[in-house]
Amino acid sequence: MEAARAESVGLAGAAQDVSNESERALIEAAQGGDPDAFEQLVRLYDRSVMRVTMNVLRSPEDARDAYQEAFLKVYRKLDTFRFQCSFHTWLYRIATNVCLDQLRRKGVRKEHTVDDRDDEFGLNPLQTAADGRPESAPDRVYEGRDLGRRIEGALEELSPKERMVFELRHYEGLRLRAIGEIVGISEEAAKNSLFRATRKLRGALGEAG
């Protein structure tokens, strides 16, 4: 996956092409209709796909549906994959789109664009609300026993895209450039989504900053 990630951030080189040979062979065999090769590809990547879907959707049932939908799309579209990006990036793009669709269907806050960020910041109650709770002192705020639940609640307040970018950067450790490729936005837009997400989360968790 290191190789795939490196490629996704534009570090592909000759040596890496060699190390990707067996993955390429698997993909080509799967494109040729070999179900075993496809199953091996699934096994290679499905744990990380499942982890992302579980983290983003927070429901095992939804995550299972997303897993199924994502890999079926991969199977049906596999013959259109032309090795122009890493398979990992391509697969993640499909899986994150499925998750984003699910989040949107569930009615998680409206999407935001880069253009509306100033307005949004000005109006965002999470960011501006004065927090009078006793636990909002900087050093104590993160110590509550219900912190995990509060984090969940705060994450649900993010727009689907912000949430996805935050998940991929903070919890999956992907670089912003790779996240941009996966989510289908520029690196700069991914950066802005991350900023908006961390700002809202800080506000929601009572950190005035």
């Binding site: 990547y45 995550a63 912003l176």
Partner: protein
């Protein structure tokens, strides 16, 4: 704090700041107590975000998902839409046809069916099972078709009378651990339910700890494996990388929460060579909270070596 400043701090803490800017920013942090405090507050916030309970991806869940997926793909390959698959099969339609016959023809059709079965059995012995000699099942297809493996699921359709058996085949894969396929399998296998297999997997990964994905997997094992022997092995493998911030943070985390005092001693020993001023507060808290005298003594010595106070003010 201005929006630009917040963004700079986020970029810095996420390691996304360009190197040139990073040096200048670190110099700025060193010269401004206020900025250093802001960075620390944001660092605490980002660490706190890790308190969210991580999603558990169990082997059982993955196995079920793979099964559902491969079954669906099998259906697609056969050109059987899911809805049609549940409909009546050819046998059901045949029986239905028999029922619709005039009563006088039914015995004749039954005899014809019997004769067809007898003839079929004689003419195609390889197709049917248990006729005459062998009790072993054989299958339609090429004689060399090696069908075998553990049965993962059996699904019987009362409507069609058909059965679908999903087998899980054992495969042996040989190759260089640097091969992406093998490497991926090894990394995912550090979560194997069998602790012996987990240890062997770590052995295979031993010479490859330069790889950041492998280090991430090792950190997760060191902090999360329920077997202390496996955790210790992961810790030993990370020893050479103790100067890396993520490894150092993980060692501090292990020192804070590992239930095994031996592990905590190992962690503090490694931290002795990778001391960082940022750890001082945590180490002081440990001196206050640590129940094991020897571990506490080691932490006190570490603080002493760092010229830091043992007490928490």
């Amino acid at each position: 704090m201005s929006e630009t400043r917040e963004q700079q701090i986020d970029l810095y803490l996420y390691g996304e700041m360009p190197y040139a800017d990073r040096d200048a920013f670190e110099a700025e942090i060193g010269g401004s107590e206020e900025l250093a405090q802001q960075v620390e507050t944001q660092r605490k916030f980002l660490r706190a975000m890790n308190e969210r309970e991580p999603a558990e991806v169990s082997e059982a869940l993955l196995a079920e998902c793979r099964h559902d997926l491969m079954r669906e793909i099998y259906r697609e390959r056969q050109g059987v839409p899911a809805a049609a698959a549940a409909g009546p099969g050819w046998w059901a339609r045949f029986i239905e046809g028999l029922n619709g016959m005039r009563v006088a023809w039914q015995p004749t059709a039954a005899v014809a069916l019997l004769a067809l079965g007898f003839w079929g059995g004689r003419m195609a012995p390889g197709v049917l099972t248990g006729v005459g000699g062998s009790n072993q099942a054989s299958f339609v297809g090429e004689a060399s078709d090696p069908v075998g493996g553990d049965v993962r699921s059996v699904e019987f359709s009362p409507e069609s009378g058909g059965v679908e058996i999903v087998l899980e085949q054992r495969r042996t894969i040989r190759g260089n651990p640097d091969d992406p396929l093998i490497r991926g399998l090894l990394i995912s296998n550090v979560q194997s339910p069998n602790s012996g297999v987990r240890l062997e997997t770590l052995e295979a990964l031993q010479p490859r700890t330069e790889d950041s994905d492998i280090r991430t997997a090792l950190i997760s094992v060191m902090l999360g494996d329920d077997n202390p022997g496996v955790r210790l092995k992961a810790l030993e493998m990370l020893a050479a990388h103790r100067a890396q911030p993520e490894v150092r943070d993980a060692l501090v985390e292990s020192l804070r929460r590992d239930p095994n005092a031996g592990m905590r001693v190992q962690a503090v020993d490694l931290l002795t060579d990778a001391a960082d001023r940022e750890m001082v507060g945590t180490l002081q808290e440990l001196v206050r909270d640590e129940q094991d005298n020897y571990v506490r003594y080691k932490v006190e010595r570490l603080l002493h070596d760092m010229s830091a106070s043992v007490d928490l003010y």
